[in-house]
Protein backbone atom coordinates (compact mmCIF):
# COMPACT_ATOMS: atom_id res chain seq x y z
CA UNK A 1 0.00 0.00 0.00
CA UNK A 2 2.87 2.29 0.86
CA UNK A 3 4.24 1.88 -2.63
CA UNK A 4 0.90 2.24 -4.39
CA UNK A 5 -0.14 5.59 -2.97
CA UNK A 6 2.46 7.66 -4.88
CA UNK A 7 1.60 5.68 -8.02
CA UNK A 8 -2.10 6.42 -7.55
CA UNK A 9 -1.39 10.13 -7.01
CA UNK A 10 0.80 10.25 -10.11
CA UNK A 11 -1.88 8.53 -12.17
CA UNK A 12 -4.56 10.91 -10.94
CA UNK A 13 -2.40 13.97 -11.66
CA UNK A 14 -1.65 12.76 -15.16
CA UNK A 15 -5.33 12.03 -15.80
CA UNK A 16 -6.22 15.59 -14.81
CA UNK A 17 -3.47 17.06 -17.02
CA UNK A 18 -4.55 14.85 -19.93
CA UNK A 19 -8.14 16.06 -19.54
CA UNK A 20 -6.91 19.65 -19.39
CA UNK A 21 -4.95 19.10 -22.61
CA UNK A 22 -7.68 17.32 -24.54
CA UNK A 23 -11.01 18.68 -23.23
CA UNK A 24 -10.79 22.19 -24.78
CA UNK A 25 -10.26 20.55 -28.16
CA UNK A 26 -13.34 18.38 -27.79
CA UNK A 27 -15.63 21.16 -26.47
CA UNK A 28 -15.79 22.48 -30.02
CA UNK A 29 -17.57 19.37 -31.36
CA UNK A 30 -20.92 19.65 -29.47
CA UNK A 31 -20.84 23.43 -30.03
CA UNK A 32 -20.87 22.89 -33.79
CA UNK A 33 -24.33 21.25 -33.61
CA UNK A 34 -25.87 24.13 -31.65
CA UNK A 35 -29.51 24.98 -32.40
CA UNK A 36 -29.15 28.74 -31.94
CA UNK A 37 -26.59 31.39 -32.71
CA UNK A 38 -24.77 31.46 -29.39
CA UNK A 39 -21.57 30.09 -27.93
CA UNK A 40 -23.10 29.04 -24.59
CA UNK A 41 -22.02 25.63 -23.38
CA UNK A 42 -23.65 23.16 -23.31
CA UNK A 43 -25.45 24.16 -26.52
CA UNK A 44 -29.25 24.13 -26.74
CA UNK A 45 -31.04 22.27 -29.51
CA UNK A 46 -29.56 20.48 -32.49
CA UNK A 47 -28.96 21.58 -36.05
CA UNK A 48 -26.60 21.18 -38.95
CA UNK A 49 -27.03 24.82 -40.04
CA UNK A 50 -23.45 25.81 -39.11
CA UNK A 51 -21.98 23.11 -41.32
CA UNK A 52 -24.39 24.18 -44.05
CA UNK A 53 -23.30 27.79 -43.58
CA UNK A 54 -19.65 26.82 -43.85
CA UNK A 55 -20.09 25.00 -47.15
CA UNK A 56 -22.52 27.46 -48.76
CA UNK A 57 -21.23 30.83 -47.55
CA UNK A 58 -18.55 32.00 -50.02
CA UNK A 59 -16.82 33.93 -47.23
CA UNK A 60 -16.15 30.67 -45.37
CA UNK A 61 -15.76 28.15 -48.16
CA UNK A 62 -13.71 30.58 -50.26
CA UNK A 63 -11.23 31.11 -47.46
CA UNK A 64 -10.89 27.33 -47.06
CA UNK A 65 -9.98 27.02 -50.75
CA UNK A 66 -7.47 29.89 -50.46
CA UNK A 67 -5.87 28.28 -47.39
CA UNK A 68 -5.70 24.85 -49.05
CA UNK A 69 -4.09 26.27 -52.20
CA UNK A 70 -1.56 28.36 -50.28
CA UNK A 71 -0.71 25.43 -47.99
CA UNK A 72 -0.16 23.10 -50.97
CA UNK A 73 2.17 25.60 -52.65
CA UNK A 74 4.02 26.16 -49.38
CA UNK A 75 4.36 22.41 -48.85
CA UNK A 76 6.01 22.05 -52.28
CA UNK A 77 8.29 25.12 -52.12
CA UNK A 78 9.34 24.74 -48.46
CA UNK A 79 9.97 21.01 -48.85
CA UNK A 80 12.20 21.44 -51.92
CA UNK A 81 14.10 24.42 -50.50
CA UNK A 82 14.32 22.94 -46.98
CA UNK A 83 15.43 19.49 -48.15
CA UNK A 84 18.19 21.02 -50.29
CA UNK A 85 19.35 23.06 -47.32
CA UNK A 86 19.28 20.04 -44.97
CA UNK A 87 21.40 18.01 -47.42
CA UNK A 88 23.83 20.91 -47.82
CA UNK A 89 24.16 21.31 -44.05
CA UNK A 90 24.78 17.59 -43.57
CA UNK A 91 27.58 17.61 -46.13
CA UNK A 92 29.28 20.74 -44.82
CA UNK A 93 32.45 20.40 -42.86
CA UNK A 94 33.33 22.26 -39.70
CA UNK A 95 31.19 24.81 -37.97
CA UNK A 96 29.50 26.30 -41.04
CA UNK A 97 26.79 23.62 -41.11
CA UNK A 98 25.74 24.17 -37.50
CA UNK A 99 25.71 27.92 -38.00
CA UNK A 100 23.52 27.81 -41.10
CA UNK A 101 21.19 25.34 -39.37
CA UNK A 102 20.83 27.72 -36.41
CA UNK A 103 20.09 30.60 -38.80
CA UNK A 104 17.47 28.60 -40.69
CA UNK A 105 15.63 27.76 -37.47
CA UNK A 106 15.32 31.38 -36.24
CA UNK A 107 11.88 31.98 -37.86
CA UNK A 108 10.48 29.70 -35.12
CA UNK A 109 11.81 32.00 -32.39
CA UNK A 110 11.22 35.51 -33.75
CA UNK A 111 8.08 36.90 -32.03
CA UNK A 112 5.17 36.56 -34.46
CA UNK A 113 3.91 40.14 -34.31
CA UNK A 114 7.36 41.69 -34.82
CA UNK A 115 7.91 39.52 -37.89
CA UNK A 116 4.39 40.29 -39.12
CA UNK A 117 4.87 44.05 -38.76
CA UNK A 118 8.17 43.87 -40.66
CA UNK A 119 6.74 41.74 -43.45
CA UNK A 120 3.74 44.08 -43.66
CA UNK A 121 6.08 47.08 -44.05
CA UNK A 122 8.02 45.40 -46.87
CA UNK A 123 4.85 44.11 -48.57
CA UNK A 124 3.28 47.59 -48.54
CA UNK A 125 6.27 48.91 -50.47
CA UNK A 126 6.35 46.01 -52.93
CA UNK A 127 2.55 45.68 -53.43
CA UNK A 128 2.53 42.13 -52.07
CA UNK A 129 -0.25 42.69 -49.50
CA UNK A 130 -3.16 40.32 -50.17
CA UNK A 131 -1.39 38.40 -52.97
CA UNK A 132 -0.76 34.69 -53.47
CA UNK A 133 3.01 35.24 -53.70
CA UNK A 134 2.89 37.25 -50.48
CA UNK A 135 1.20 34.45 -48.53
CA UNK A 136 3.35 31.69 -50.02
CA UNK A 137 6.64 33.54 -49.34
CA UNK A 138 5.74 34.39 -45.73
CA UNK A 139 4.42 30.91 -44.92
CA UNK A 140 7.41 29.27 -46.62
CA UNK A 141 9.70 31.20 -44.30
CA UNK A 142 7.80 29.85 -41.28
CA UNK A 143 7.72 26.30 -42.68
CA UNK A 144 11.43 25.97 -43.59
CA UNK A 145 12.58 25.26 -39.98
CA UNK A 146 10.22 22.27 -39.71
CA UNK A 147 11.44 20.78 -43.01
CA UNK A 148 15.12 21.34 -42.10
CA UNK A 149 14.57 19.65 -38.72
CA UNK A 150 12.56 16.70 -40.10
CA UNK A 151 14.87 15.98 -43.06
CA UNK A 152 17.98 16.69 -40.96
CA UNK A 153 16.90 14.11 -38.37
CA UNK A 154 16.50 11.56 -41.14
CA UNK A 155 19.87 12.42 -42.71
CA UNK A 156 21.58 12.02 -39.34
CA UNK A 157 20.78 8.30 -39.34
CA UNK A 158 21.44 7.93 -43.08
CA UNK A 159 24.56 5.94 -43.93
CA UNK A 160 26.62 8.16 -46.25
CA UNK A 161 28.73 5.14 -47.29
CA UNK A 162 25.78 3.97 -49.38
CA UNK A 163 26.30 7.00 -51.63
CA UNK A 164 30.00 6.27 -51.94
CA UNK A 165 29.19 2.65 -52.77
CA UNK A 166 26.77 3.73 -55.51
CA UNK A 167 29.32 6.18 -56.92
CA UNK A 168 32.09 3.58 -56.87
CA UNK A 169 29.83 1.25 -58.86
CA UNK A 170 29.64 3.94 -61.55
CA UNK A 171 26.38 5.75 -60.76
CA UNK A 172 26.30 9.44 -61.62
CA UNK A 173 25.66 12.02 -58.87
CA UNK A 174 22.12 12.58 -60.05
CA UNK A 175 21.19 8.92 -60.32
CA UNK A 176 22.83 8.26 -56.93
CA UNK A 177 20.60 10.93 -55.43
CA UNK A 178 17.37 9.72 -57.01
CA UNK A 179 17.90 5.97 -56.61
CA UNK A 180 19.79 5.80 -53.29
CA UNK A 181 19.55 8.97 -51.18
CA UNK A 182 16.00 10.09 -51.96
CA UNK A 183 14.22 6.78 -51.22
CA UNK A 184 16.06 6.47 -47.91
CA UNK A 185 15.27 9.99 -46.65
CA UNK A 186 11.74 9.98 -48.09
CA UNK A 187 10.07 9.52 -44.65
CA UNK A 188 11.80 12.68 -43.41
CA UNK A 189 10.83 14.60 -46.53
CA UNK A 190 7.20 13.50 -46.28
CA UNK A 191 6.88 14.46 -42.62
CA UNK A 192 8.60 17.76 -43.43
CA UNK A 193 6.04 18.39 -46.19
CA UNK A 194 3.20 17.57 -43.79
CA UNK A 195 4.59 19.98 -41.19
CA UNK A 196 4.97 22.66 -43.87
CA UNK A 197 1.35 22.18 -44.97
CA UNK A 198 0.04 22.37 -41.41
CA UNK A 199 2.21 25.40 -40.58
CA UNK A 200 0.77 27.31 -43.51
CA UNK A 201 -2.80 26.08 -43.02
CA UNK A 202 -2.75 27.16 -39.36
CA UNK A 203 -0.75 30.41 -39.64
CA UNK A 204 -2.71 33.41 -38.41
CA UNK A 205 -0.52 36.26 -37.12
CA UNK A 206 1.39 37.18 -40.30
CA UNK A 207 -1.71 36.43 -42.39
CA UNK A 208 -3.77 38.89 -40.31
CA UNK A 209 -1.39 41.67 -41.34
CA UNK A 210 -1.01 40.83 -45.03
CA UNK A 211 -4.64 39.86 -45.68
CA UNK A 212 -7.06 41.61 -48.01
CA UNK A 213 -10.86 41.32 -48.31
CA UNK A 214 -10.37 39.65 -51.70
CA UNK A 215 -7.83 37.06 -50.60
CA UNK A 216 -8.38 35.78 -47.07
CA UNK A 217 -7.11 32.56 -45.48
CA UNK A 218 -9.25 30.38 -43.23
CA UNK A 219 -7.55 31.26 -39.89
CA UNK A 220 -8.02 34.96 -40.69
CA UNK A 221 -11.71 34.34 -41.42
CA UNK A 222 -12.05 32.37 -38.16
CA UNK A 223 -10.33 35.15 -36.22
CA UNK A 224 -12.43 37.95 -37.66
CA UNK A 225 -15.62 35.94 -37.09
CA UNK A 226 -14.62 35.37 -33.45
CA UNK A 227 -13.93 39.02 -32.78
CA UNK A 228 -17.17 40.09 -34.52
CA UNK A 229 -19.89 37.90 -33.03
CA UNK A 230 -20.67 34.53 -31.46
CA UNK A 231 -21.02 32.44 -34.60
CA UNK A 232 -21.00 28.62 -34.08
CA UNK A 233 -19.74 28.23 -37.68
CA UNK A 234 -16.28 28.59 -36.11
CA UNK A 235 -17.00 25.47 -34.04
CA UNK A 236 -18.11 23.62 -37.18
CA UNK A 237 -14.82 24.56 -38.90
CA UNK A 238 -12.86 23.42 -35.85
CA UNK A 239 -14.68 20.08 -35.80
CA UNK A 240 -14.07 19.54 -39.53
CA UNK A 241 -10.34 20.29 -39.12
CA UNK A 242 -10.24 17.89 -36.16
CA UNK A 243 -11.97 15.19 -38.22
CA UNK A 244 -9.64 15.75 -41.18
CA UNK A 245 -6.48 15.55 -39.07
CA UNK A 246 -7.74 12.47 -37.22
CA UNK A 247 -8.38 10.66 -40.51
CA UNK A 248 -4.92 11.58 -41.87
CA UNK A 249 -3.15 10.53 -38.67
CA UNK A 250 -5.25 7.37 -38.40
CA UNK A 251 -4.36 6.40 -41.98
CA UNK A 252 -0.71 7.21 -41.26
CA UNK A 253 -0.73 4.93 -38.20
CA UNK A 254 -2.41 2.08 -40.12
CA UNK A 255 -0.07 2.34 -43.11
CA UNK A 256 2.94 2.85 -40.88
CA UNK A 257 2.15 -0.38 -39.02
CA UNK A 258 1.52 -2.30 -42.25
CA UNK A 259 4.80 -1.05 -43.68
CA UNK A 260 6.65 -2.20 -40.60
CA UNK A 261 5.11 -5.66 -40.68
CA UNK A 262 5.98 -6.50 -44.29
Amino acid sequence: MKLNLPKLLLGLTCLLIAIWLVAPTLVVIPMSFAGQKSLAFPPKGFSLQWYENFFTNPQWFGSLIVSAKVACMVAVVATVVGTMAAIGIERMKGRAGGLIRAVLITPMIVPGVVLAVGIYAVYLDTQLVGTWIGYVLAHTLLAIPFVVIAVGANLAVFDARLEIAAASLGASRLSTFFSVTLPLILPGILSGALFAFVTSFDEVIVSLFITSPQLKTLPVQIFSSMTRDADPTVAAVGSLIFLGTSVIIGLGLIFGMKGRRT
Binding site: L10, T13, C14, I17, A18, L21, V22, P24, T25, V27, V28, L39, A40, F41, V80, V81, M84, A85, I87, G88, I89, R91, M92, A96, G97, I100, V103, L104, I109, V110, P111, G112, V113, V114, L115, V117, G118, Y120, A121, V122, L137, A138, T140, L141, I144, V204, I205, L218, P219, I222, F223, M226, V234, A235, V237, G238, F242, T245, S246, I249
Partner: protein, 282 residues
Protein backbone atom coordinates in the same frame (compact mmCIF):
# COMPACT_ATOMS: atom_id res chain seq x y z
CA UNK B 1 39.34 19.09 -64.69
CA UNK B 2 39.76 17.14 -61.40
CA UNK B 3 40.64 20.40 -59.71
CA UNK B 4 37.41 22.18 -60.73
CA UNK B 5 35.34 19.16 -59.80
CA UNK B 6 36.94 19.11 -56.35
CA UNK B 7 36.20 22.81 -55.96
CA UNK B 8 32.66 22.16 -57.05
CA UNK B 9 32.33 19.39 -54.47
CA UNK B 10 33.55 21.72 -51.74
CA UNK B 11 31.19 24.54 -52.67
CA UNK B 12 28.27 22.27 -53.53
CA UNK B 13 26.86 22.08 -49.99
CA UNK B 14 26.83 25.87 -49.68
CA UNK B 15 24.98 26.28 -52.97
CA UNK B 16 22.33 23.83 -51.73
CA UNK B 17 21.53 26.07 -48.76
CA UNK B 18 21.33 29.28 -50.82
CA UNK B 19 17.62 29.13 -51.80
CA UNK B 20 16.57 28.71 -48.15
CA UNK B 21 18.90 31.50 -47.05
CA UNK B 22 17.49 33.72 -49.81
CA UNK B 23 13.94 33.22 -48.47
CA UNK B 24 15.20 34.06 -44.98
CA UNK B 25 16.93 37.18 -46.24
CA UNK B 26 13.93 38.44 -48.20
CA UNK B 27 11.10 37.63 -45.79
CA UNK B 28 12.85 37.81 -42.41
CA UNK B 29 16.15 39.72 -42.43
CA UNK B 30 14.97 42.60 -44.64
CA UNK B 31 11.63 43.06 -42.78
CA UNK B 32 13.32 42.99 -39.36
CA UNK B 33 15.95 45.40 -40.71
CA UNK B 34 13.20 47.76 -41.81
CA UNK B 35 11.66 47.63 -38.31
CA UNK B 36 14.99 48.41 -36.63
CA UNK B 37 15.68 51.22 -39.11
CA UNK B 38 12.28 52.83 -38.65
CA UNK B 39 12.54 52.67 -34.85
CA UNK B 40 15.57 54.97 -35.13
CA UNK B 41 14.49 57.12 -38.07
CA UNK B 42 10.75 57.85 -37.81
CA UNK B 43 9.59 60.53 -37.45
CA UNK B 44 13.17 61.82 -37.19
CA UNK B 45 16.63 60.38 -36.68
CA UNK B 46 17.50 59.60 -33.06
CA UNK B 47 16.54 57.65 -29.97
CA UNK B 48 13.26 59.50 -29.42
CA UNK B 49 11.11 56.36 -29.79
CA UNK B 50 13.11 54.47 -27.20
CA UNK B 51 13.10 57.39 -24.80
CA UNK B 52 9.33 57.56 -25.24
CA UNK B 53 8.97 53.81 -24.66
CA UNK B 54 10.93 53.74 -21.42
CA UNK B 55 9.39 56.97 -20.11
CA UNK B 56 5.74 56.06 -20.64
CA UNK B 57 4.22 54.33 -17.66
CA UNK B 58 1.71 52.25 -19.66
CA UNK B 59 4.50 50.73 -21.74
CA UNK B 60 6.55 49.78 -18.72
CA UNK B 61 3.48 48.27 -17.04
CA UNK B 62 2.77 46.19 -20.13
CA UNK B 63 6.43 45.16 -20.49
CA UNK B 64 6.54 44.06 -16.87
CA UNK B 65 3.20 42.23 -17.25
CA UNK B 66 4.47 40.45 -20.38
CA UNK B 67 7.41 39.14 -18.38
CA UNK B 68 5.31 38.23 -15.35
CA UNK B 69 2.65 36.36 -17.37
CA UNK B 70 5.41 34.52 -19.25
CA UNK B 71 7.06 33.67 -15.95
CA UNK B 72 3.89 32.25 -14.40
CA UNK B 73 3.03 30.34 -17.56
CA UNK B 74 6.52 28.81 -17.46
CA UNK B 75 6.16 27.88 -13.78
CA UNK B 76 2.74 26.28 -14.42
CA UNK B 77 4.15 24.40 -17.40
CA UNK B 78 7.07 23.01 -15.38
CA UNK B 79 4.78 21.93 -12.52
CA UNK B 80 2.29 20.22 -14.84
CA UNK B 81 4.82 18.76 -17.28
CA UNK B 82 7.14 17.20 -14.70
CA UNK B 83 4.84 14.47 -13.35
CA UNK B 84 3.36 13.95 -16.81
CA UNK B 85 6.71 13.51 -18.57
CA UNK B 86 7.85 11.24 -15.73
CA UNK B 87 4.78 9.03 -16.18
CA UNK B 88 5.49 8.96 -19.94
CA UNK B 89 9.06 7.84 -19.35
CA UNK B 90 8.15 4.96 -17.00
CA UNK B 91 4.84 3.84 -18.57
CA UNK B 92 4.42 0.72 -20.69
CA UNK B 93 4.29 1.12 -24.48
CA UNK B 94 0.47 1.31 -24.72
CA UNK B 95 -0.03 3.79 -21.90
CA UNK B 96 2.87 5.82 -23.28
CA UNK B 97 1.22 6.01 -26.70
CA UNK B 98 -2.02 7.18 -25.06
CA UNK B 99 -0.15 9.85 -23.07
CA UNK B 100 1.69 11.06 -26.18
CA UNK B 101 -1.62 11.22 -28.07
CA UNK B 102 -3.09 13.45 -25.36
CA UNK B 103 -0.14 15.82 -25.83
CA UNK B 104 -0.59 15.89 -29.60
CA UNK B 105 -4.40 16.15 -29.81
CA UNK B 106 -4.38 19.91 -29.10
CA UNK B 107 -2.35 20.33 -32.30
CA UNK B 108 -5.12 18.66 -34.33
CA UNK B 109 -7.33 21.71 -34.34
CA UNK B 110 -6.15 25.09 -35.46
CA UNK B 111 -4.66 27.39 -32.84
CA UNK B 112 -7.40 29.98 -33.22
CA UNK B 113 -10.14 27.39 -32.73
CA UNK B 114 -8.42 26.16 -29.58
CA UNK B 115 -8.58 29.68 -28.19
CA UNK B 116 -12.30 29.74 -29.05
CA UNK B 117 -12.73 26.64 -26.89
CA UNK B 118 -11.13 28.49 -23.99
CA UNK B 119 -13.41 31.49 -24.54
CA UNK B 120 -16.39 29.11 -24.28
CA UNK B 121 -15.07 27.43 -21.14
CA UNK B 122 -13.90 30.54 -19.31
CA UNK B 123 -16.78 32.92 -20.00
CA UNK B 124 -18.79 34.18 -17.02
CA UNK B 125 -21.67 31.79 -17.75
CA UNK B 126 -19.23 29.08 -18.85
CA UNK B 127 -18.77 25.52 -17.63
CA UNK B 128 -16.07 26.32 -15.08
CA UNK B 129 -18.03 29.07 -13.41
CA UNK B 130 -21.26 27.08 -13.34
CA UNK B 131 -19.43 24.13 -11.81
CA UNK B 132 -17.99 26.43 -9.17
CA UNK B 133 -21.45 27.86 -8.42
CA UNK B 134 -23.07 24.45 -8.13
CA UNK B 135 -20.34 23.40 -5.70
CA UNK B 136 -21.22 26.39 -3.57
CA UNK B 137 -18.22 28.56 -4.47
CA UNK B 138 -18.30 32.11 -5.67
CA UNK B 139 -18.04 33.04 -9.32
CA UNK B 140 -14.50 33.73 -10.50
CA UNK B 141 -13.87 36.22 -13.26
CA UNK B 142 -11.74 34.30 -15.72
CA UNK B 143 -12.29 35.78 -19.15
CA UNK B 144 -10.57 39.12 -19.74
CA UNK B 145 -8.31 38.58 -16.73
CA UNK B 146 -4.66 37.60 -16.36
CA UNK B 147 -5.73 34.35 -14.73
CA UNK B 148 -7.72 33.37 -17.83
CA UNK B 149 -4.84 34.31 -20.14
CA UNK B 150 -2.42 32.28 -18.02
CA UNK B 151 -4.71 29.20 -18.03
CA UNK B 152 -5.14 29.35 -21.82
CA UNK B 153 -1.47 30.02 -22.59
CA UNK B 154 -0.28 27.24 -20.30
CA UNK B 155 -2.45 24.71 -22.10
CA UNK B 156 -1.20 25.88 -25.50
CA UNK B 157 2.47 25.82 -24.45
CA UNK B 158 2.46 22.67 -22.27
CA UNK B 159 3.46 20.31 -25.13
CA UNK B 160 6.63 22.39 -25.70
CA UNK B 161 7.58 21.69 -22.08
CA UNK B 162 6.57 18.02 -21.97
CA UNK B 163 8.50 16.93 -25.08
CA UNK B 164 12.07 18.06 -24.18
CA UNK B 165 11.51 16.95 -20.59
CA UNK B 166 10.38 13.51 -21.75
CA UNK B 167 13.40 13.23 -24.07
CA UNK B 168 15.77 13.81 -21.15
CA UNK B 169 13.86 11.67 -18.64
CA UNK B 170 13.79 8.73 -21.05
CA UNK B 171 17.60 8.74 -21.10
CA UNK B 172 17.92 8.63 -17.28
CA UNK B 173 19.10 5.25 -16.09
CA UNK B 174 16.52 4.17 -13.49
CA UNK B 175 18.98 1.65 -12.05
CA UNK B 176 20.74 4.61 -10.44
CA UNK B 177 17.65 5.07 -8.28
CA UNK B 178 17.57 1.39 -7.37
CA UNK B 179 21.24 1.60 -6.45
CA UNK B 180 20.61 4.56 -4.18
CA UNK B 181 17.64 2.84 -2.56
CA UNK B 182 19.57 -0.37 -2.00
CA UNK B 183 22.26 1.67 -0.28
CA UNK B 184 19.60 2.88 2.14
CA UNK B 185 18.64 6.32 0.79
CA UNK B 186 15.12 7.56 1.51
CA UNK B 187 12.91 7.83 -1.64
CA UNK B 188 12.56 11.59 -1.17
CA UNK B 189 16.31 11.96 -0.85
CA UNK B 190 16.85 9.73 -3.88
CA UNK B 191 14.58 11.98 -5.90
CA UNK B 192 16.18 15.27 -4.88
CA UNK B 193 19.78 14.09 -5.01
CA UNK B 194 19.72 11.88 -8.10
CA UNK B 195 16.61 12.10 -10.28
CA UNK B 196 15.97 15.85 -10.13
CA UNK B 197 19.55 16.92 -11.02
CA UNK B 198 19.62 14.46 -13.92
CA UNK B 199 16.31 15.77 -15.28
CA UNK B 200 17.21 19.46 -14.89
CA UNK B 201 18.59 19.86 -18.45
CA UNK B 202 15.13 18.95 -19.76
CA UNK B 203 13.44 21.40 -17.39
CA UNK B 204 15.87 24.07 -18.49
CA UNK B 205 15.43 23.46 -22.22
CA UNK B 206 11.65 23.31 -21.98
CA UNK B 207 11.39 26.36 -19.72
CA UNK B 208 13.53 28.43 -22.09
CA UNK B 209 11.39 27.51 -25.10
CA UNK B 210 8.12 28.13 -23.23
CA UNK B 211 9.26 31.47 -21.81
CA UNK B 212 10.50 32.75 -25.18
CA UNK B 213 7.34 31.68 -27.01
CA UNK B 214 5.16 33.16 -24.25
CA UNK B 215 6.87 36.56 -24.54
CA UNK B 216 5.71 36.88 -28.14
CA UNK B 217 2.17 35.51 -27.65
CA UNK B 218 -0.49 37.46 -29.50
CA UNK B 219 -3.71 35.58 -30.32
CA UNK B 220 -4.43 34.03 -26.91
CA UNK B 221 -3.98 37.21 -24.80
CA UNK B 222 -5.94 39.16 -27.40
CA UNK B 223 -8.97 36.86 -27.36
CA UNK B 224 -8.91 35.71 -23.72
CA UNK B 225 -7.60 38.91 -22.19
CA UNK B 226 -8.93 42.39 -21.62
CA UNK B 227 -7.40 45.83 -21.19
CA UNK B 228 -5.95 44.73 -17.85
CA UNK B 229 -4.05 41.83 -19.42
CA UNK B 230 -2.65 43.39 -22.61
CA UNK B 231 0.74 42.00 -23.60
CA UNK B 232 3.50 43.68 -25.59
CA UNK B 233 2.54 42.10 -28.93
CA UNK B 234 -0.93 43.68 -28.79
CA UNK B 235 0.61 47.07 -28.06
CA UNK B 236 2.91 46.75 -31.10
CA UNK B 237 -0.03 45.85 -33.32
CA UNK B 238 -2.01 48.86 -32.02
CA UNK B 239 0.85 51.30 -32.67
CA UNK B 240 1.33 50.09 -36.23
CA UNK B 241 -2.20 49.29 -37.45
CA UNK B 242 -4.36 51.71 -35.42
CA UNK B 243 -2.04 54.65 -34.82
CA UNK B 244 0.13 54.15 -37.93
CA UNK B 245 3.12 55.01 -35.78
CA UNK B 246 5.83 52.82 -37.31
CA UNK B 247 8.62 54.39 -35.28
CA UNK B 248 7.12 53.69 -31.88
CA UNK B 249 5.77 50.30 -32.94
CA UNK B 250 9.21 49.47 -34.32
CA UNK B 251 10.94 50.45 -31.09
CA UNK B 252 8.57 48.18 -29.15
CA UNK B 253 9.29 45.38 -31.61
CA UNK B 254 13.03 45.85 -31.14
CA UNK B 255 12.58 45.69 -27.34
CA UNK B 256 10.69 42.40 -27.71
CA UNK B 257 13.30 41.03 -30.15
CA UNK B 258 16.19 41.96 -27.88
CA UNK B 259 14.44 40.40 -24.87
CA UNK B 260 13.76 37.16 -26.79
CA UNK B 261 17.23 36.71 -28.23
CA UNK B 262 18.91 37.99 -25.07
CA UNK B 263 17.26 35.27 -23.01
CA UNK B 264 18.10 32.69 -25.66
CA UNK B 265 21.75 33.81 -25.72
CA UNK B 266 21.99 33.57 -21.95
CA UNK B 267 20.33 30.16 -21.81
CA UNK B 268 21.76 28.40 -24.86
CA UNK B 269 25.41 27.78 -23.86
CA UNK B 270 24.06 26.43 -20.60
CA UNK B 271 21.65 24.13 -22.41
CA UNK B 272 24.28 22.76 -24.79
CA UNK B 273 26.70 21.83 -22.05
CA UNK B 274 23.97 20.13 -20.08
CA UNK B 275 22.74 18.30 -23.15
CA UNK B 276 26.16 16.88 -23.84
CA UNK B 277 26.30 15.64 -20.28
CA UNK B 278 22.99 13.86 -20.58
CA UNK B 279 24.04 12.55 -23.97
CA UNK B 280 27.21 11.17 -22.49
CA UNK B 281 25.41 9.17 -19.85
CA UNK B 282 23.13 7.50 -22.36
Amino acid sequence: MPNTSAQHAARGPLYLTLPALAVLLLVMAVPLGVIVLRSFSEPELGLANYVWFFQTKVNLTVLLRTFSISFWVTVCCVLAAYPYAFAMSVAGPRLRLALIMCVLVPFWVSGVVRTLAWVILLQDSGVINRTLLSLGFDKVRLIRTQLGVTIGMTQVLLPFMIMPLYAVMRSIDLRLLQAARSLGAHPVKTFFQIYLPLSLPGVFAGATIVFILALGFYITPLLLGGPQSTMLSTLIQQQVLSLLNWGRGGAMGVVLLVATFGILAIASPFMKRKYQMSGGSR
